[in-house]
């Protein structure tokens, strides 16, 4: 009995034991609850790899979102070796094998971003935290793109931007984990200003209506600078809220402002509405300062042109890509997209598709999904065959450098898709600029942040 007294009591043993079980069983859970077990966020360990598609399926840019979704579905089919292979056959150089990525079958999850930055972030977080997305892509608004891009940097997941045209995306808000294939407002300015000066003269007075967010601001600035450099005068620049259905209160002052050119820095439904209403105000039939009154839409797309119908005839704008370009890549993409969905792809669809392929190709070349390696593979990557001629993924700001199109509303469309003509192709050297002019800081790729 005396020995027992010296040892621990039964109650003590039980208590310590229980505490030990709880401590050893639960405490490690609390620590390993993060992603310490995997070396990086959402490392695909099974036979599949998941893309997270963040698409505006409702809101002002819903049509672009729907078209992007079609393009991503097509790209994923092609990556998995289904369908006709699309641009896999023309991308040069290409490491893609048509058996998924690194032998893993590609699948996707999606989220409706509602063309709102808040919702886009919530959707992207869900796809990363719950659905295990290895990469986030999509979006049709620069506000969304910038919000999601900084989120992806925090979580350590690569973001392949969809349609985003603001200078800030690869300028002052650029991120190491974010990549943009689409061109930007600054390049639109370089491309369109000489064309405008040639067509409308050098002594014009311009009035800007601008969507009130990052894209509108930077596009207004870029177009203003580019046209003023050629001798134009800017009468006034007015900001309009995104998603406004009625622009008449903004259009009325234009008539008495002494301006003879109206520049609409609007996109999607906003542009369809503002342009239609401007035409209803009789602006295209007006004379001002002894000249014909003109309307310019610096960023144009196929889908918007279709929405605006008759009103876009003869109007100048710029595009990233157009389906009736004569090169092999454009032809191949238009063919497989048309075969799948019965209509030619928009520029939003094109950039979405290309981004998916470029990410997959970078993973193949890197031989891993480890984000810093994939980033290295994309930075400074020079490729051809995707419909924009020779293209460079610039390492300094993750902006694709390629040629830019000046397009014009078709005066005599032969069918409902034939709404835009390519007026002029501005080559890559002309559209080039110094990445340092916008400032910004990419940040580091390593250490890789953990997403949970």
């Amino acid at each position: 009995m005396s020995e027992l007294k010296r040892g621990p009591s039964r109650r003590h043993v039980l208590r310590t034991g229980l505490a030990g079980i709880i401590a050893s069983g639960v405490a490690p859970l609390a620590f390993s609850r993060g992603a310490w077990a995997q070396e990086f966020c959402n490392n695909p360990t099974g036979g599949t790899v998941t893309f997270g598609l963040n698409l505006p399926l409702t809101g002002a840019y819903a049509e672009e979102g729907a078209d992007e979704q079609k393009a991503y579905e097509l790209a994923i089919q092609h990556l998995n070796g289904e369908g006709d292979g699309g641009l896999l056959n023309v991308l040069k150089p290409s490491a893609l094998k048509g058996n998924g990525i690194l032998g893993k079958k590609v699948q996707y999850v999606s989220s409706d971003s509602q063309t709102k930055s808040d919702v886009a972030r919530a959707g992207a977080t869900r796809m990363i935290e719950r659905d295990g997305a290895i990469m986030i892509t999509g979006g049709s608004s620069s506000g969304e793109a910038i919000a999601v891009q900084s989120l992806c940097q925090e979580l350590g997941v690569i973001f392949m931007a969809g349609l985003t045209h603001s200078n800030d995306t690869t300028g002052k808000d650029k991120r190491r984990y974010g990549f943009r294939h689409f061109f930007n407002a600054y390049q639109s300015g370089i491309a369109i200003a000489p064309v405008l000066a040639e067509a409308y003269g050098k002594d014009r007075r311009a009035y800007h209506l601008t969507a009130d967010y990052t894209w509108g601001w930077t596009q207004e600035e870029s177009i203003k600078n580019a046209t003023e450099a050629l001798g134009w005068e800017t009468v006034q620049a007015v900001r309009t809220p995104l998603g406004a259905a009625d622009f008449s209160q903004y259009l009325t002052p234009v008539l008495n402002s002494g301006a003879d050119v109206l520049i609409l820095n609007h996109y999607g439904n906003d542009m369809v509405n503002s342009l239609t209403q401007a035409v209803q105000f009789g602006m295209r039939d007006r004379q001002a300062n002894g000249k014909q009154f003109e309307i310019v839409v610096p960023l144009f797309s196929e889908l918007m042109a279709k929405g605006a119908g008759e009103n876009i005839k003869g109007i100048f704008g710029t595009s990233n890509w157009h389906w009736n370009l004569p090169d092999e890549g454009s032809k191949a993409f238009t063919k497989s997209f048309g075969a799948a969905y019965g209509s030619p792809p928009s520029q939003a669809a094109h950039t979405a598709y290309v981004q998916a392929l470029l990410y997959a190709d970078a993973c193949e070349r890197a031989g891993t999904f480890y984000p810093p390696e994939v980033i290295k593979a994309l930075e400074g990557f020079e490729f051809d065959g995707m419909g924009n001629g020779k293209t460079l993924y610039r390492a300094e700001d993750h902006q694709c450098m390629k040629s830019v199109l000046v397009v014009r509303g078709n005066e005599n469309p032969t069918n409902q898709f034939d709404v835009l003509n390519v007026f002029k192709e501005i080559d890559r050297e002309t559209a080039n600029y110094d990445p340092a002019i916008f400032g910004g800081d990419l940040g580091a790729a390593e250490p890789v942040p953990q997403c949970r």
């Binding site: 999606s110 506000g143 919000a147 990052t214 800081d441």
Partner: protein, 383 residues
């Protein structure tokens, strides 16, 4: 616990706390057990409880609570930008600023009651939204949303250390508040808010508020000046909305103007009515349900559906996917609307009324005598 609350309240609180803290496990079968959504569950739970203190107790239906939510977000973000990355000053600052806004808006709006009060609050909230969206863009960064950047001054942090490399993230004395940490952090606030709501409901002050709801004229005739009480309730609920808004910025550092729009104000009304106006747990359940719909139902695409209906033969599966596809994905509003109509028609007291009916039916079958007594005790709508 027994000293400050009744045994029944203590049970309710402990049960609620257990459910909240175990959510990461309990929500797993529903595909909702990931930090971001659970953080939202907590945050919008706080928002709805706060709203219910005004609407449930005094009967004043505010259609502008999203304004305080948004003001809280922006205030917290400015605290992160100017003062410190620590969440505590940000939350205090946000609650204070939201309180000031609530005081001003409440003072003006509470001069009217009923529909005129609702319209006034709606008007003020839309004013705040427009200011944030397009007028005060230097302060709010408009539609792009306000974010932190590395170059922000952060004077308090700079007193102690140099600006670290990398993206700034909100923290609590060095502990990052993203992911699960953010969830537990907001869960503590939800529990505190729940406790506060419980205390208010059972206090003499709460009785006064219920008196305002049942008959304000009678209160006035008996010699009470009701307006200070209503204003206090308004400010408390505005401050809780500010708290929720600041927590949203703490867990996800971006403040956008959309969260101030009238749809966001309407959403919190829906949450409260869906769960049960005037009940303690109801608004939280309503908030969780709506956030679940918004985040999970909207994520079902045709792929998910066709694997869900995989057991059906080919033709029937496609038909089922087409029909069901209208109710999920971008059509999640439709299913939420249907649910709302069903609840309002069949359970006017919200989900909590359904719970009460079921439990009293069970009890009647078991031993009829307790049924009425229990029915009274359960948190009852203060009609």
């Amino acid at each position: 616990m027994a000293g400050i609350m009744s045994r029944k309240d203590a049970t309710l609180f402990i049960g609620f706390a257990a459910v909240v803290l175990l959510l990461p496990i309990l929500a797993a079968p529903f595909g909702a057990a990931y930090p971001d959504l659970l953080q939202r569950f907590m945050i919008f739970g706080i928002f709805a409880i706060g709203f219910n203190i005004l609407f449930g107790l005094t009967g004043y239906l505010s259609f502008g609570h999203a304004a305080f939510f948004g003001v809280g977000s922006y205030a917290a973000m400015w605290s992160f930008k100017l003062l410190s990355l620590n969440a505590i000053p940000a939350i205090l600052f946000a609650v204070a600023i939201a309180g000031v806004f609530a005081l001003v808006i409440g003072y003006l709006s509470l001069r009217r009651s009923g529909i005129y009060f609702s319209i006034l609050t709606l008007a003020f909230a839309q004013m705040c939204y427009s200011l944030a969206y397009s007028v005060l863009t230097p302060i709010t960064n408009g539609e792009t949303g306000l974010r932190m950047i590395r170059a922000d001054p952060r004077v308090l942090d700079r007193l102690f250390s140099e600006a670290p490399a990398g993206v700034p993230v909100p923290s609590l004395f060095g502990i990052s508040l993203s992911g699960w940490n953010g969830f537990y952090f907001s869960a503590l606030f939800l529990l505190a808010t729940f406790f506060l709501a419980m205390r208010i409901t059972n206090s003499p002050f709460g009785m006064m508020l219920k008196g305002i709801k049942s008959n304000q004229n009678r209160m006035n005739y008996t010699g009470f000046n009701t307006r200070p009480y209503a204003l206090t309730a308004f400010v408390i609920s505005g401050m809780l909305a500010g708290l929720a808004g600041s927590l949203l910025v703490v867990t996800d550092p971006l403040a956008g103007a959309e969260r101030m729009q009238w749809t966001a104000s309407g959403e919190v009304v829906l949450m409260t009515i869906l769960g049960g106006v005037g009940t303690l747990v109801g608004p939280v359940i309503g908030a969780w349900l709506i956030k679940y719909f918004e985040n999970i139902f909207s994520s079902f695409n045709d792929n998910v559906l066709s694997s869900f209906f995989g057991f059906l033969p080919d033709g029937a599966r496609e038909a089922a996917v087409v029909v069901a596809g209208k109710f999920v994905g971008e059509g999640w509003h439709l299913s939420l609307g249907l649910l709302f109509v069903l609840i309002v028609v069949f359970l006017p007291g919200g989900i909590m009324e359904g719970v009460r009916r079921i439990s009293s039916a069970i009890r009647r079958r078991g031993g009829g005598r307790h049924a009425t007594a229990r029915g009274e005790l359960s948190p009852s709508a203060a009609e």
